[in-house]
Symmetry: D4
Subunit: 249 residues, 8 copies
C-alpha cells in the first residue's frame, strides 16, 4: 500500500464514506510491508545502540570506502573486521584518522568519542600467544561498544598456575571471553573458577587434528563447567559483541 | 605440607630460630595444595550461589539417592537432569515431595523456596513442538535458579509471522533462549529482531542430514546475527544456567 | 497496538485533532505485529492450497488425534507422515475411514475428494525395491495434492537397460521423482535422458559406507546432469510436495 | 552392426532368403549401439532446447576456444561457467562480441538472440552481498535460457524486515532461487512465505564452521518449509537451469 | 516400436514401397527401447554366468520365498546374503535342501551342482577371528561361483610371524581376499608379499575410532602396497564375486 | 623347507659333497617360513612377559571357555576384557575362582599369584564418575601385569582445586593414566603439573557433540602439554598395558 | 647371526662336535633376519616382475636422479609418478631419452623395450574430460607393465548413450578401469554392462560437496553392480597396476 | 596476599596477638595465588629438567630472537620447532652457533653440552622416506633431551622383510618411535615384534583419502598390537619428548 492509498482510506473515513469499523478492518488487512519498514529498520538500529559492523572479507577497497563514507555522513562510529593490510592502507589514505590493528586485521574510525555503556570490565583471556589476534578482535569490539577491557594472555592449561595466580583478575571481571585453540580446555577451567558468564572462542591455532579449530570448538561445547557458551571459530567479534550486550545489563 | 610441618615452622618463628624473612620464604615455597583447598571449594559453591546439579545419566537410583540425601542434609535445593522414568519413580518413593517432569526428564526437590535472583524475564522459544523437551529443561533450570520464565513455543521460521506477531514478548524479555532442531535458523532471526543476549540451543530433532542436531548447531554457530552464542546439542540445562548468570547482572 | 488505540487514532483524525499527515506518520510507525497477522497466516494457508501436513514422529496418539479432529472440523484433508503401526491403529479406531500405508508409514483421511491440481503426470522412480517405502511416501503425497502419479520401481543403474526400456514412460511424465540409496547414481542417468525437472531423493538404504544415505545424497548433489535438485535423505514427502508445486504450473 | 550388415539382412529379407519373422528376430538381437545413437544424442540436444554448457574449470584457453568454434559453427548460443579472468581475456581476443562477467566468472557468446522460453519471472535472492557471485551465475544462466530474471540481494534473516518489505516481489515471481552462505536459513523463511517452488543454493561464504558451504547446505536440506529443493554448493548454474526447466512449464 | 510397426516396415521394404536406404534410415531412428531389451537383459545374465544374488536385508520371508521359487523354476542356483536366523528358518521349511550359514548369514540352494569355473585357488585371509563372518560370506560366494577356496584366519599384523609362516599358502593362491577390521593393515602386508591381485575387505570389527570399519577402509585405500583394491565395509559378497571374475581369467 | 631337506643339506656338507661356502649360500636362500617360526612366536610370548589378553566382545561363552582352558593348562594367568554379564556368569560356573568386575566388564583368573613387575605406582585418574568403568579396566590390567595401582577419581577441570589438592599423589606416581570424556581437558592439565609420562584415555562419556568420545580424543591429541600420548576411545586395557610396559623400565 | 657364527656351527657339525640333530635345532632357532633377506627382497622384485615405481612427490630432483641412475645401472625400466614440470625438466636434462607426460605428470625411462605381459586389452574409461589426467596415469602404467591399452573418454552417465554406443569396445576389453569424479556413477553402470573385472578410480574432479573425490569414492564403494573394486582417489597408478596383475592371469 | 599482609600475620603470631592455631587457620585460608607461584613455575621447569620448547610457527623472527636471548641469559639450551628457512636465517645471523635442520625445520642452540639423561637408546623408525622430516624432529628432540638415538628409515609394511631383517636393532632399543603416513600400519607390526613401549606418530604424507594424516592416525589408534600409544599428526616433537620421559625411567 503506497501512501496515496493510505491517504484515500483516511480521507474516506473523514468524509464518512466508510465507518471507523470499516477503516480499521481495511487497515488490518494491509500488507505490512507497505508501512515503511525501512523506518522500523532504522529504529532497530537505534535500539541496538550499535551500527552494523562491516565484514571486510571479500569486499574491495572501493566498496569498503563507500560504505564508510555513508556511515560517516550519518555520524556513526565505524568498525571493520577482517581487513587485509593492503585494503587497510587504501582506507587509511582516505580516512586519515582511522586506526588499523594489523594483528587482528581490525580497522576503526571514530566520528565521535565512544560512549561508555558497559557496567563492569570485560576480561579477554587467551591460552597461548598465537591466540592473541582473535582475542584482540574481541577486545577492540568490546572497547568500541563502550566497555572497559582487560586482557590476560598466555595462561593455557598446561601451566595451570599461571591462570590461578591471576584469580583476582578473573573475579574482578563482569564478563569473561576465553580464547583458545588446540585442545580448547581453558574455558572449562575458567568456567569452574568463576561465577560470571564465560564466552568461549575457539581459534584455528594448531596443526594436524586441531582441524582448524574444530577440536577446540567441540571441547568448548562439551565443557563440563556450567556458564559457558560458544561462538564460531576465530569469531572474536562475535564474542566481543555478545559480552558487550551482557555487560550493559 | 601437613599441619605439623606448618606448626613447626611457626613455632620456629616464635622461638626466633628463624627470622620473619626466612619464615616468609619458607611459606612461599610451600606447595599450595597443602593449604586446605577443600575449603576454597566450599567457598566456590557459595560464590556460585548454586549447588552442583546432578547429571542423572549413567547413575544408579542408589547413587542418585545418596547424593540427594547429602545435599538435603546441607539444606540445598536439588536439580537432577536426564532422569529416566524408572529412576524417577525410585527417587520419588523416598523423596515424596520431589517433582518430576517426564517430558524433559528433570527432577527437582526443594528444601527451601527458590530465592528470586533474576532481574528480568527469561524467554524460552522453540521452533517446533518436538523441541519442547529441551526447552523445558532450560525453563526449569532457570526457574530453579530464581528467574521468572516465559515460553513461546512452535514459532519456527517456516511461518515467520507467528514469531513476528509476538515481537512484544521478545522485546520484554531480558535474556532469550532459542531452541531449534532441523535447520536451526530461528536464533538468527530472533537475534536480528532483539537487542538482548540470545542463547541458542540446537536439538537433535530431525532426520537424515539433521545428523542428530549437528546441522542445527552449525547453523547457529554461523548465525549472521550478532549477540548469539551457542551451547551443546540438547543442552537445555546449560542454556538455562547461562541465561540465569546473565539475568542476575 | 490494540484496537482501542487504533480507534483513538482514527477518531482524532475525524475530529481533526490531528492532520492526515500526522495520522499517516503514526500509522506507519505502528509495530506491524498489532495488525492482525493471524489473518495473513490464514491467507497463506489458502494461497498454499494445501494444509500443513502433520509430522507424526514424536507425537503421541492423543496429540495426533486432537490435531486431526481440529483439521477435520475445518473440513481439510489430512496427511500424516511417519506414523508407526501402533499409532496408526489408535488413529484408525477413531477415524474409521482413514487409510494407512504400512510400508511408507503414511496415514491419510479425506473429508472431501482430492481436487485435481496437477497438469500432468508425476513419475516416481526407484533404483531398488528397498527404496519403495520412501517412493511411496512421495507418491501418496503427490496424489493427495491432486496429481496423477505413475511409478517405475527397481530400475537401478547396474541394469541400465531396465531403465532405457521405459524411456517412453520417462518422457511422458511432467515431473520426475527419482529415489535411490547406495551409490545414488540413478538421478544423474535419468536427468541425462529427460527434459523435465528431476527431484532426487536419497534413501538410507545400504550398509557400510552408504552412511545412512549420505553417499547417495552427495552423489545426487554432484550430479553431472543438469535439471536435478535434491531433498533430504528419506524425505519422500518433501519430494512429493515439490513435484506437486511444479506440476501445477 | 555396421550398415553393411544391416543392408545384408534387409537384402536377405527382400530376396526371401529369410522370413520376416527371422528378420525381426535378428533385428531385435542387434546390439543397439550399432544403430547410430550419435543421432539420438543430437535429438536429445534439440529436445533439451539447450546446448551443453561448458564447464570452464580445468580447461585450457585453447580447449575452450576450439569448443566455442564448433558450437558457433553449429549456430548455438554459448555459455561457459567458471572462467578465470586470464582465460576470459584469451577468449575475448578471438570472440570479440563475447561478454564476460568477472564477478561470477561466466562468459557468454550469442550467435542469435535468446528466444523467450519462460512463462514468468525467476527471482534470484541472496542473503548477503558476498553471495552475489553465485546468484549472478544463476541469473545469467536463467536469462540465457530465455527467462525474465529479477534479483533481490542482501535480504538475510538477521534483518528479516528487509525481506518482508519485498513480499510483493516474492509473490510476483514464478520460481525463486535463494542463495545463502553461513547458516543458510533464508530458503526456509522464503519457502514459508511463498507458494512457488524454491531452489536453494548454498554458498561457500563464511569462515570457521561454515565449512565452505556445508553448514548452509545442511540447513537447506533440513528446511522446515515445504517446497524447497537444493543444489550443490556454489552451483548457481544448476539452480538457474533447474528454475528454467520449471518456468517453461 | 512394437512388433507390428516393425513388421509393417519390413513389409513395405519387401513390397518395395520403400527403398532399402529408407528402411535403414527408419530402423536407425527407432527408439532403442522398442527392440526388446528384456531379452538383452536375459543375455546379460547368461554372459555374466551368474544369476543375480538376492540381498536378503529388508525383504520379508514371503518376498524371499517367491523370488526363490521363480529362480528354482528357471533352474538356477540361489545365493541369498544377509538373511537373519528367523528368516532362514522360514525359508528352510519350504526349501528343505537349502543350506544356511548362521555365522555369515548366507543361505544357498542348489538346483544343480556348481560348475567349476575358477582356474586356481582363492585364498581368504582374516586378521582376527571376529572378521570370520565377513570372510565366510566371501568364501561361500566364491565357492558358489565355482572356485576352489582356502582360508587362513587370525593372522593379523600384530603377530606378523603367523602370516609369514604361511607364505607358501599365500603364494599358491591365484587371487587373495584379505579381510580385516581395526587398523586394516593386513592387506598392505599381504600385498607386499605376493604377486597376485589382492581384494581388501574392511570389516566393522573394532570400537571407538574404528568407526564401524571406516578406519580399516581408509587404511586399505591408502595401502602402500601395489596390487590392492578395495570393496565396501563388510562386503564379503562383493569381494568373493570380484575374486571369482578374476579367477576365471 | 622341511626338516628332511635341511638334513640332506647338512649331510652333504658332512660328506663334503658341498663346501661350507655352498652350504651357507644354500641356507641363506632358504625361505624363512620353513624354519619353524611357531617357536619364535612362543619366544615372543615369553619375552612380552604377558600372555595375550582375550578380547571378549563377539566371542561366545563356549569360545571363551575353550581358550581359557587352554591358557589354564599352560599355567597362564588370564585376563578377558569386554565380557558382558551373561557371559561372565557362564564362565564363572566353570572357573569358580575367576573374578568378574561388572563395572568394567573385566574377568580375571589367576593360576598363580601375579608377580610384581612395576618399579613404581601407576596412578589412574578420571575427570568424572562416569569415566570410572574405563579407568577400572586400566587399573585391573595394570595390577594384573604386576603393578601397584592407585586411583584418583572425579577430579575434572571444572573444579580444578580438586586436582591441585592431590598434587602429592600425582608426583608420587611413576606413570599416570588420565581418563576423561566430554571435553577431554584433564590430561593437558595433569601433563602440565607432572614430570612423568601421561597416557590419556578418551571415553565415550557425554552427549551431543561429544560424538561418543571423539571430542575428548581430539582434545587429547592436541594437548598443549608435553609428555602426553593417547590410546583409542574407551581403551582402558591399552592404557593399562602401555603404562605397565613403561613402569617396568 | 653373522656369517662367522654360521660357519662355526657348520664347522662343528663337520668336526662332529655336534650331531646333525643339534645342528638342525640350532639352525631353526636362528633369528631369521640374519639369513640375508636382502636377497629375498631381490627375489621378490623378480617375482613381482615389476621394479618399484618411484613416487615423485616430495622428492628433490637430486633424489629422483640418484634413484634413476641406480635403477638404470640395474637395467630396469623406470616409471615415476607425480613429477612436477620443473622436476621433469631437471630429469630430462640428464636422461635425454626419458619421456614426460605433463597432463598426468608421469615420467618414464626405458632401458629396454617393454615386454608384453598382458593377455588382453585393458580399457580405460573416463566420465569427463577433466578426469583424463588420472586416466592417463593408469594407461601409462598399464602400458609400461606390458599391456595393450585402449581408452574411452568423456562417456559420463548424464549422456548414457555415449557409453552404450561403445558397448563393443567394453566387451572386447579383458579388464576395465573406470575413472570418474563428481557423483562417481560410471563404474556402476559399466559394471552392470560387462562381465569383466572393473577397477574404479575416483578423481578429485568437482567442487562443493564433491569433497575432493570423497563423494565419487563413496559412490563407487556402494556400487550396486557386482565385480567392481576401488582404489584411492586420483590413484591412476594403483588402478593400472591392479589391472595389469589381473590381465596377466 | 601481598608480603606485607603475610608479615603482619607472622608478627601477630610472634607478638602472641594470635594463637598458632589462629595463624594456621589464617594461612590456610589465604588465596594461593598470592604465594608467589612464579617461583613454583620455576620449580616446575627444574623438575621437568627441560626448558619450554619454542613453537616457531606464527612467531616473527623478532619474537623468536627475544625469547632466545632471554633463555640464553638463563643459560638454557634452546630448541625451536617449525622454523621456516627465512626465519632460521634471521636467527642464525644473531646466534651464529645455532644449528638449523632444514628438513625438519628445527633450530637448536646450545649454551652448554647436553647432559645424558636417557638410560638406553631411542629408535626412530619410518615407513617411507617422505616421513623422515617428522622423524628427524623426533630424533633431534630426543637427542636434545639427552638420549642416544638411532634411526631406521624406509621400512614400511609393503616390504615387511626390510623391517624383519633389522629385528636386532628393534630389540636393542629401549623406546621406539614409529613414524608413518598413508595407511599407518607400521606401529602395529613393530608393536607386535617388540616388548618395549612404542610411540606412534602419524604423518600427513599421502594423498586422497589419507586426509592429511587422519587415516594413519586412526589406524594407529586402532592398533591390534598392545603397547602402542599415539601423538598428534606430524608431532615429531611430542613423540621425542614422550620417549625421552620414558627413557629416563
Amino acid at each position: 500500500m503506497n501512501v496515496r492509498k493510505l491517504k484515500d482510506l483516511l480521507k474516506n473515513l473523514k468524509l464518512e464514506r466508510i465507518t471507523m469499523e470499516e477503516a480499521i478492518a481495511q487497515l488490518k488487512s494491509l500488507p505490512f510491508e507497505d508501512l515503511g519498514f525501512a523506518r522500523i529498520d532504522h529504529h532497530r538500529s537505534l535500539r541496538k545502540g550499535f551500527p552494523e559492523v562491516i565484514w571486510g572479507e571479500g569486499k574491495t577497497p572501493g566498496q569498503v570506502l563507500s560504505i564508510m563514507k555513508e556511515l560517516k555522513r550519518k555520524g556513526q562510529n565505524i568498525l571493520i573486521t577482517r581487513v587485509g593490510e593492503k585494503k587497510a592502507k587504501a582506507v587509511q589514505k582516505v580516512f586519515l584518522k582511522s586506526r588499523y590493528y594489523p594483528r587482528s586485521k581490525v580497522l576503526t574510525y571514530l566520528t565521535h568519542p565512544v560512549k561508555p555503556e558497559g557496567k563492569g570490565t570485560i576480561l579477554v583471556i587467551t591460552a597461548g600467544t598465537t591466540d592473541i589476534p582473535v582475542a584482540e578482535e574481541a577486545a577492540i569490539t568490546a572497547q568500541f561498544m563502550g566497555n572497559a577491557v582487560e586482557t590476560l594472555y598466555d595462561v593455557g592449561v598446561a601451566g595451570i598456575h599461571r591462570l590461578l595466580s591471576e584469580k583476582g583478575k578473573l573475579e574482578a571481571a563482569r564478563v569473561l571471553i576465553v580464547v583458545a585453540g588446540m585442545e580448547g580446555a581453558l574455558p572449562s577451567v575458567v568456567g569452574g573458577l568463576v561465577n560470571q558468564p564465560v564466552i568461549a572462542v575457539p581459534t584455528s591455532v594448531g596443526y594436524g587434528t586441531s582441524f582448524g579449530g574444530i577440536t577446540a570448538l567441540l571441547a568448548m561445547l562439551n565443557s563440563c563447567a556450567s556458564g559457558v557458551s560458544v561462538v564460531n571459530i576465530d569469531n572474536g567479534f562475535g564474542a566481543g559483541y555478545m559480552a558487550s550486550l551482557i555487560n550493559r545489563m
